[in-house]
């Protein structure tokens, strides 16, 4: 390892500095490599002690850069921070970097710091909001002022943009990102084998006409689901990754469920309206194909009245909401004297 390190350092301009304190620094690097090997994804877990050991105490320029992810376990359940997801992506970048360099690159290490256990490090870096990723370059003296912060734009495309950030700032190539496949090869093989085994069985049942597929009720509920899914704009929410609701900017205690302005919608809003659409259709089905067979005339009338009221309310609600949302006021084109 020391060989590598020396060949590298000869090329770099930090030759003199290294020569003077080379022994100590190579020890640090060796420690880091061990830590890196111990961690599953190659992200080194840092705490107050190790931060001072690897970052504050060694003299600059240090022979390595550090990319640090600031984590807080107690915020993991806040979906808007996306900490878990970003953390996972960060690990992917780290492991890709390490694999692409055969675990022998000593110029860049990946680390993470947890808020609860290393609060003083958080202060040292001046971190007061999450998610936060910081690159500490070899020459950074003050951890707070000399290190580079990865901004929102670099999170946007997850691992790929983080890798670009690293490439841009450290001039080190990360190389292709290796994402773990959704299914391992073993699982894939098993599934294929199972499918092949089932095939004749399924075919036989199809010919015999006794599968679930022959039950129109299944198809019917499937059809209603597709309908609900489409008209509620669920596809829009998936593609745009819309949240279910927003918090009102002026009043944090208030939640905004409906977004004014066409072409955009919030999650809950779409489902609510999709539900209203579907309810009218389902009530109709109930009335025309179930209620008919009820013997009791009063029950029938009451149910009928209920259906009518609910349907009327739903239709009215949707029309009102639509007018409010899109801001269109619809009017007929009859002679103006009629108005």
């Amino acid at each position: 390892m020391a060989d590598h390190f020396f060949t590298f350092s000869i090329i770099t301009l930090s030759l003199f500095v290294v020569a003077s304190s080379g022994g100590l620094e190579s020890e640090l690097v060796a420690d880091l490599l061990t830590l890196q090997a111990e961690s599953k994804s190659g992200v080194i877990h840092l705490d107050d002690r190790t931060v001072s050991k690897f970052l504050t105490s060694p003299r600059t320029p240090r022979p390595y850069s550090f990319l640090i992810f600031f984590d807080a376990a107690n915020f993991h359940d806040k979906p808007e921070l996306r900490l878990r997801e970003l953390r996972r992506e960060f690990e992917i970048v780290a492991s890709s970097f390490i694999t692409n360099h055969n675990s022998s690159n000593t110029k860049l290490f990946f680390g993470d710091i947890e808020f609860r256990e290393s609060q003083s490090s958080f202060q040292l870096f001046g971190v007061n909001s999450l998610p936060h990723v910081r690159l500490v370059g070899p020459t950074a003296k003050s951890l707070k002022d000399d290190s580079d912060v990865m901004d929102q734009g670099d999170f946007s495309r997850l691992a790929e943009s983080m890798a670009e950030f690293v490439q841009y700032r450290t001039k080190l190539t990360v190389g292709p990102i290796h994402r773990p496949p959704a299914l391992s090869k073993m699982q894939l093989g098993l599934i294929t084998a199972l499918l092949l085994l089932c095939l004749p069985l399924v075919a036989k049942r199809i010919f015999a006409g006794e599968t679930l597929l022959h039950d129109p009720k299944i198809w019917l509920s499937g059809a209603f689901f597709v309908y609900f899914f489409s008209v509620s704009g669920a596809m829009h929410n998936i593609i745009r990754k819309m949240p279910m609701f927003l918090v009102d900017r002026n009043n944090p205690n208030k939640l905004v469920f409906f977004y004014q302005g066409s072409g955009m919608q919030l999650g809950a809003e779409g489902f609510a309206v999709g539900f209203l659409y579907t309810v009218v259709g389902l009530l109709l089905a109930f009335v025309t194909h179930v209620l008919v067979y009820v013997k009791d005339a009063t029950a029938k009338r009451l149910a009928m009245l209920f259906t009518l009221l609910v349907s009327f309310w739903a239709v009215k609600k949707v029309i009102l909401l639509d007018n409010w949302k899109t801001g269109y006021g619809i009017h007929g084109f009859w002679p103006s004297s009629w108005n």
Binding site: L199, S230, M235, S262, G281, I330
Partner: protein, 810 residues
């Protein structure tokens, strides 16, 4: 719906017609009225503006149609268009769907033959409404086929005014979809008819309908995947029949052979992954038929079961292997991005910015559904339920068509168009069944109304349930009330449709309309002004660079060559333009010169408040450019993930070419009372860089409302220019520039000194050297360098000729 009001029937009786004849007469006259209605409701734009072509794509279609009328079909088929995609050109005949143009020219020829002196433009403008009328007829027959003639009539009425369809078929929207929806519905109708009758003639007709569809629109892929899916569902649910076999095979084989005659499709039809489903189902059909035959021959059931298992396994295995081999060997091309983005909706957003950038490819929010379908949305589930209660081959088809197209409509706004006919048909079933039952109740004197399956009533929020009970005294009144309710809702639908057509879908987008301060209509005709300026004031062979949206219009109306246009076939070329627009002027000019561009055209809405201008589209240029050239990075143009043009904007944003071209001289302009000069009305901010200086481009023309701005690319500076007009020595700037670059680069002879060169550009060679010396002597650099070597290197980098041993004077 099919029943008539009492007074009308009295009148008809006096003509001594039999009931059947009366019904026929009424049906035909309703159809005629619907036919006319469908046509005239699409004429708002012609009445309000003038008879002209709308939007972007239609201009290309119009231009090709013009070419077709002038040069005939064979020239059209072999047309190489050198006016677009300069310097690549475009093989037009092989890269378009000719159905629309051929149709328009055919109509034109027929009218000419009948001695109607029309211009081809009028034909083009009215093609879409004409085909919309024809679609209503097809909808009637389709509705009749799947339910009854009443449902057919209602379907015709609904589709005649449904905004989802009108959006793409108003007069002037001369686009492929205009005829394609007709072709689509026609193909489906004839195919369903063929499946119902098992007749060869209908299957043949569906093959030809399919051929017309393929010739008209890329959306034919929907047909060629829906039909096998439908057949597959029929097979799985045990509805295999000889009728299906005849209809499908005939349609597939003939349809495929015909489709391959269209050059744009060609062998893709048997090779690309998108068309594999239809082939797979074709072979599956043969296996089914074979099994049927064997079953017929073998009387032993056990033997048959064993045989069945072996055959099915073998067939599937062989199919899988063939598909795998085809994919690996490259005979079967993988799915295209557009197809992928339908199945996996998030695909386009992540991988193909050029698809994701188009506004009509955005995912659909619920309000868009409401806008385009209105009450049909409520009726649709009811209609679905009715279809399920009366399952037949035809209703299964319409249900599948409805659901698949609904799903696709959720993915992309523009596909609401494809879903419209299905939604109209299914809703028509609900309306027709309800109204029919209600009227039957009203007319029946005291007969007992049968309950059960025919009782399919529903629609609107009514349902005739309570009415069933004959013993209820207020049954008839209830029916009347509900009937009124239903008609009220339908009339709301009609009002909504008319209003939407008039206000939202009839603006030609080439001429913009806005409401003035006093509610009066203000017309901005800037686009045409700019294009005609181009046509009349620029050289014949001038090349115009603009974002691709305007390419078709510039070639069609300005008659000038463009670099990229709306046929986005070459992503790299578009990315090059995107890169030029998002670079600094110095870098951009090199791209511009390498593309041989003479004029640059931008669209700017800051003065009028027109929001779909180039500044708002700019991020897409960055994204598309950055997708090919990684030097362009989206975060450079954003501040904390926010896109802004005011003082807080990113420095790269404030100095990129697009920003400069849009806001050139805008800083002096007062747009709104009470706001500072340079207030951008489209974005509602005061711009950040008011002092825009252009070096290599000059303003050539700006339209009256500043919507279109055209810049001329200046010719390269004449290096022997003694007067050195633009050259002034600014040692301070030069010093800073050199300092930034670091003179190390100069010493090594690297190129990045180029941006500095612009600072001494315009100076004569010797003056350049003197200027550099001044900069060095002023010690702005703060470094001691080997002056003579560095200077000569720097000058050589800037392509200046000075004696190598030039030394700064004392």
């Amino acid at each position: 719906m099919a029943t008539m009001p009492a007074s009308a029937s009295d009148l008809l009786k006096s003509f001594k017609l039999k009931t059947k004849q009366q019904e026929l007469l009424i049906r035909v006259s309703i159809l005629c009225l619907v036919y006319i209605l469908a046509f005239i409701t699409r004429l708002f734009s012609v009445l309000r503006y003038e008879s002209m072509i709308h939007e972007f794509d239609p201009y290309f279609n119009y231009r090709t149609t013009l070419y077709l009328t002038e040069n005939g079909f064979y020239d059209f088929w072999n047309w190489f268009d050198y006016e677009s995609w300069y310097p690549l050109g475009r093989i037009v005949g092989g890269t378009l769907y000719p159905g629309l143009m051929v149709t328009a020219v055919l109509i034109y020829r027929i009218l000419r033959f009948l001695r109607f002196a029309v211009h081809i433009r009028e034909v083009c403008v009215l093609t879409a409404p004409f085909f919309a009328s024809n679609t209503t007829l097809v909808a009637y027959f389709f509705g009749k086929e799947i339910w009854d003639s009443g449902a057919g009539l209602v379907a015709a009425i609904l589709i005649a005014i449904c905004p989802g369809y009108i959006s793409r078929s108003v007069a002037g929207s001369y686009d492929n979809e205009g005829v394609a929806i007709f072709a689509l519905l026609f193909t489906f109708y004839v195919f369903v008819k063929a499946v119902n009758t098992g007749s060869l003639a209908w299957s043949l007709a569906s093959a030809f309908g399919y051929f017309y569809m393929v010739s008209a629109w890329g959306g034919y892929v929907f047909i060629i995947n829906l039909i096998p899916l439908y057949v597959l569902v029929l097979l799985i649910t045990g509805r295999y029949s000889m009728r299906l076999y005849v209809a499908y095979n005939c349609m597939y084989i003939l349809g495929m052979l015909l489709a391959m005659q269209i050059r744009f499709v060609g062998f893709q039809h048997v090779q690309s992954g998108e068309h594999m489903a239809v082939m797979g189902v074709f072979f599956l059909m043969q296996v089914f038929y074979f099994l049927d035959w064997v079953k017929h021959m073998l009387s032993d059931t056990k033997l048959f079961q064993a045989f069945l298992r072996i055959t099915v396994t073998c067939a599937v295995a062989v199919g899988g292997i063939a598909l795998g081999l085809g994919m690996v060997s490259g005979y079967i091309s993988p799915w295209t991005g557009r197809f992928y983005s339908l199945l996996d909706p998030t695909y386009a957003k992540d991988h193909i910015p050029i698809i994701a950038s188009v506004s009509e490819h955005q995912p659909t929010a619920w309000s868009s559904f409401m806008f385009d379908f209105h009450i049909l949305l409520f009726l649709f589930p009811a209609g679905l339920y009715f279809c399920f209660k009366r399952l037949s081959d035809a209703t299964i088809f319409i249900v599948m068509y409805g659901l698949t197209s609904m799903y696709f409509a959720g993915v992309m706004v523009r596909l609401i168009l494809v879903a419209t006919p299905a939604v109209c048909l299914i809703s028509a079933i609900a309306v027709s069944a309800t109204v029919k039952n209600l009227t039957v109740l009203l007319r029946s004197k005291n007969k007992v109304v049968q309950t059960g399956s025919t009782k399919g009533s529903g629609g609107s929020k009514s349902s005739s349930k309570a009415l069933l009970d004959q013993s209820q005294p207020f049954q008839k009144n209830g029916a009347i009330a509900l009937l009124f309710g239903a008609f009220y809702l339908l009339s709301r639908y009609a009002t909504h449709c008319t209003w939407v057509t008039s206000e939202a879908y009839s603006s030609p987008s080439i001429v913009l309309a806005a409401r003035g301060a006093h509610g009066n209509r203000v017309i901005f005709d800037d686009y045409r002004e700019a294009y005609f300026w181009l046509r009349q004031n620029t050289p014949q062979d001038a090349k115009v660079m603009s974002w691709w949206d305007y390419g078709y219009q510039i070639t069609a109306m300005g008659n000038r060559t463009v670099i990229v246009d709306n046929n986005t076939w070459n992503n790299t070329h578009i990315a090059t333009v995107g890169r030029a627009m998002s670079s600094y002027e110095d870098e951009a000019i090199e791209i511009i010169r390498s593309l041989d561009v003479d004029y640059v055209l931008v669209v700017f809405g800051g003065v009028t408040g027109y929001s779909s201008d180039d500044i708002n589209k700019f991020l897409w240029m960055v994204r598309i450019g950055g997708g090919v050239f990684p030097v362009i990075k989206e975060p450079d143009y954003l501040v904390n993930g926010e896109y802004r043009v005011d003082k807080g904007a990113a420095p790269k944003m404030l100095n990129c070419l697009m920003y400069k071209l849009c806001y050139y001289r805008f800083g002096e302009m007062l747009t709104e009372y009470g706001k500072p000069p340079g207030y951008d009305r489209a974005r509602g901010v005061e711009i950040g860089n008011k002092d825009v200086k252009l070096e290599h481009l000059e303003e050539a023309f700006t339209t009256s409302n500043w919507i279109v701005r055209i810049y001329r690319v200046k010719p390269p500076n004449n290096r022997c220019n003694i007067h050195g007009q633009s050259g002034t020595c600014n040692p301070q700037n030069l010093g800073v520039c050199l300092d930034l670059l670091g003179l190390v680069d100069v010493n090594l002879g690297n190129a990045p000194t180029k941006p500095c060169c612009s600072l001494i550009e315009g100076l004569v060679d010797l003056e350049g050297a003197v200027c550099l010396c001044t900069a060095v002597r002023a010690n702005v650099l703060g470094i001691h360098i080997n002056l003579s070597i560095s200077l000569s290197l720097l000058l050589r980098n800037c392509e200046r000729k000075v004696a190598t041993e030039y030394i700064c004077g004392p």
